[in-house]
């Protein structure tokens, strides 16, 4: 489903990703772990199309789509979703208004009709209930004054609502308490499907206890330096990254 080939990315002339290769198959949950600053968020932003990153080489494909040629909103309509490490606050825009605009924009881009308000409300209420998000919170402006954990829950709520094909989760576990971690993981697991792929960025095994990955990739200095099964995450938890920082150098 996702095919990243030899991707190199710079920001303000500073190289961050350095010939990164990564494949995620349909139906697969791939975890990415790696030290702070190794470029995990950068990769997720480049997949989603954040403008300030300069792609200096390589390609990113989502099935038959060359993602790097698409604007971020077009990528979203093709099924790319990024759950942000730091969700952005948007004062003055009610979360409900935002959710409806997003859902309908994606439907329009695919040539589908707008959802009726009752259908939309039903979908939101369903997603909110399964993620234990208080529906009153959705009347508030997007992410404004939400606690760290609430922001992450609402990211997953958006994902559940938008039903993307490629879900990139950037440290969705950070800021979640133990119960929230379970609820959010259940939300993610409920979306697991043969037609959907997940790229789960995390620092901790505890998320992978809930969301069992098929593959674990280790990222260091802008590259994938090792790929293995779920046991790789356990090994990292024990030994840290010291074996891999050299591998990339």
């Amino acid at each position: 489903m996702l095919n990243v080939k030899n991707l190199s990315v710079s920001i303000h002339g500073q190289p961050i990703l350095d010939g990164l290769n990564l494949t995620v198959k349909a139906g697969e949950v791939a975890a990415i772990m790696g030290p702070n600053g190794s470029g995990k968020s950068t990769l997720s932003y480049v997949i989603a199309g954040k403008p300030e990153y300069e792609v200096t080489g390589g390609e990113v494909w989502l099935d038959g789509e060359n993602l790097l040629e698409l604007a971020p909103d077009e990528r979203a309509a093709k099924g790319v979703f990024l759950a942000f490490q730091y969700p952005v606050e948007i004062p003055g825009v009610a979360t409900m208004t935002f959710l409806k605009a997003a859902l309908n924009a994606q439907r329009r881009a695919r040539g589908e009709a707008d959802l009726t308000t009752p259908d939309f409300m039903r979908a939101v209420r369903g997603a909110a209930a399964s993620l234990k998000v208080d529906p009153d919170m959705l009347k508030r402006p997007v992410n404004v004054g939400f606690s760290g954990g609430e922001k992450k829950r609402v990211e997953i709520l958006q994902m559940a609502l938008l039903q993307p094909r490629l879900c990139v989760l950037d440290e969705t576990d950070s800021g979640l308490d133990i119960d929230a971690l379970r609820i959010v993981s259940e939300g993610v697991n409920a979306l697991r499907d043969a037609g959907r792929a997940f790229l789960v960025i995390t620092h901790y095994q505890r998320l992978l206890d809930h969301i069992k990955p098929d593959v674990v990739h280790v990222m260091s200095k802008g590259r994938i330096v090792k790929t293995g099964g779920p046991e790789l995450a356990l090994e990292l938890e024990k030994n840290g990254y010291r074996d891999y920082s050299e591998a990339a150098a």
Binding site: A48, G49, K50, P51, E52, A71, P72, D73, R75, A76, A77, F81, L82, F84, P87, V88, I90, P91, G92, V93, T97, F98, A101, A102, A105, Q106, A109, P141, V142, Q158, L162
Partner: protein
């Protein structure tokens, strides 16, 4: 040649003199025109006009709009019929003249009478208004609660109007003033003189949504003790718009809130210049202005708060924030404090910025297209100014205008 350029009349000034010579005006109007001739059209050398050089910009003077005839009044009636109401009693001026046949019957206690009285012609635009307007309309609002909608329905030509409005002690008035019907052939000069009696409260909302070539608006307001004025203006149309406000209080504990939202696109220019005079203790003032400037449009905000020596315990806060949507959009933002009392709390903030790219990216990443994402953020930005409007029907109408403007931009 050492002739000062100001001593040479511009084409517009000469045309105004010709127009005036063809009238047979009263003595105060003659005096006002003489004052105008001494002052000349304001230029960038006048501090208050620094960013709007009217003398340079006013290249052609429109012919004076004639007093409306029966056909004009009928057309006005048809236009009014399809204009949804935003207030209680509707009071109509057509081409600057009071049109009693188009007005609602005033509720008891509300009086509307023409008057030849004129203020001091102390400033060029006001002097022109006095010289050319056929007197003023004096509106006495009733005691207790009242709601009035003042509609200026203007066609082509030069249009002068002057209102004197008084809100009696302890009364509570809601006024919506709308400028409608103007086109690229309209040059408008409107003056409002507003007085608030002791403990009176007035919510005054002005809508400038039509497209005058020139919209000059002067507002003078004086508040008695413990009176409260909440003034808001939406500028969403007009090629060259200048609003000049002079608001103050002579007795203690007045509350003054002046706010507005300017929506500027194309090559439009809007200038809001205000002076707020705290001349008595315990006054409170809040200025809150927001500007969205697109394309090659330009916005101006000049706000001066003057706190006189006797105005102790003044509490003032001024904010003017602009969003520029294009590299050719311009904003001149100039808040000023002149404080001559020692025990006051006054602050101001002025910002000029762009939409937040992080917010835009977040919206895009959810599939919302660029233009729609921008519109969502701009609507939120503008809505925060509109929050100052107390009347929900009026606020809704303003939000509707804002959305329509944003939609027009996206199209």
């Amino acid at each position: 040649m050492s002739v000062h350029s100001l001593n040479v009349k511009t084409g517009a000034e000469a045309a105004l003199a010709q127009q005036f010579a063809a009238l047979s005006p009263s003595e105060p109007r003659r005096a006002a025109f003489a004052a105008f001739e001494r002052l000349g059209l304001p230029t960038r050398r006048d501090e208050a006009w620094h960013y709007t050089d009217l003398r340079a910009r006013l290249t052609e003077v429109a012919a004076l709009a004639p007093a409306p005839d029966a056909a004009r009044l009928e057309a006005a009636r048809a236009a009014l019929d399809v204009l949804p109401r935003l207030g209680g009693m509707r009071l109509v001026l057509v081409d600057g003249r009071w049109a009693p046949v188009l007005c609602d019957a005033p509720p008891s206690g509300l009086t509307v009478v023409p008057t030849p009285d004129a203020p001091e012609p102390d400033e060029a635009v006001v002097a022109l208004n006095i010289a050319f307007a056929e007197g003023a309309l004096r509106i006495g609002l009733p005691p207790g609660e009242s709601s009035v909608e003042i509609v200026h329905l203007d066609g082509p030509g030069a249009i002068f109007s002057r209102l004197e409005v008084f809100v009696p002690a302890r009364a509570r008035a809601t006024v919506v003033e709308r400028f409608e019907g103007a086109t690229g052939e309209t040059q408008r000069n409107a003056v409002t003189i507003l007085g608030l009696g002791e403990s009176a409260r007035c919510d005054w909302t002005t809508l400038i949504a039509d497209d005058a070539a020139l919209h000059l608006e002067t507002r003078r307001a004086r508040l008695a003790g413990e009176a409260a004025l909440n003034d808001f203006a939406l500028i969403s149309g007009g090629a060259l718009v200048r609003r000049q406000l002079d608001v103050g209080h002579q007795a203690a504990s007045a509350k003054i809130a002046l706010s507005g939202l300017s929506l500027l696109d194309g090559t439009r220019h809007a200038d809001t210049t205000l002076t707020l005079r705290h001349a008595a203790p315990l006054g409170q003032s809040r200025e809150y202005f927001r500007h969205i400037v697109a394309d090659a449009a330009s916005g101006v905000y000049q706000g001066k708060v003057i706190v006189s020596p006797g105005a102790q315990k003044t509490d003032g806060a001024m904010k003017s924030q602009a969003l520029l949507l294009s590299p050719t959009a311009q904003m001149n933002n100039k808040p000023e404090l002149e404080i001559f009392a020692d025990d006051v709390v006054c602050g101001h903030g002025a910002t000029v910025g762009a939409l937040d790219p992080q917010q835009i990216f977040y919206l895009l990443s959810r599939g919302i297209p660029q233009r729609e994402a921008e519109a969502m953020l701009l609507e939120a930005f503008g809505a925060e100014a509109i929050e100052r409007v107390a009347d929900e029907t009026v606020a809704d109408a303003l939000r509707e205008r804002l959305r329509a403007w944003l939609k027009g931009r996206a199209a």
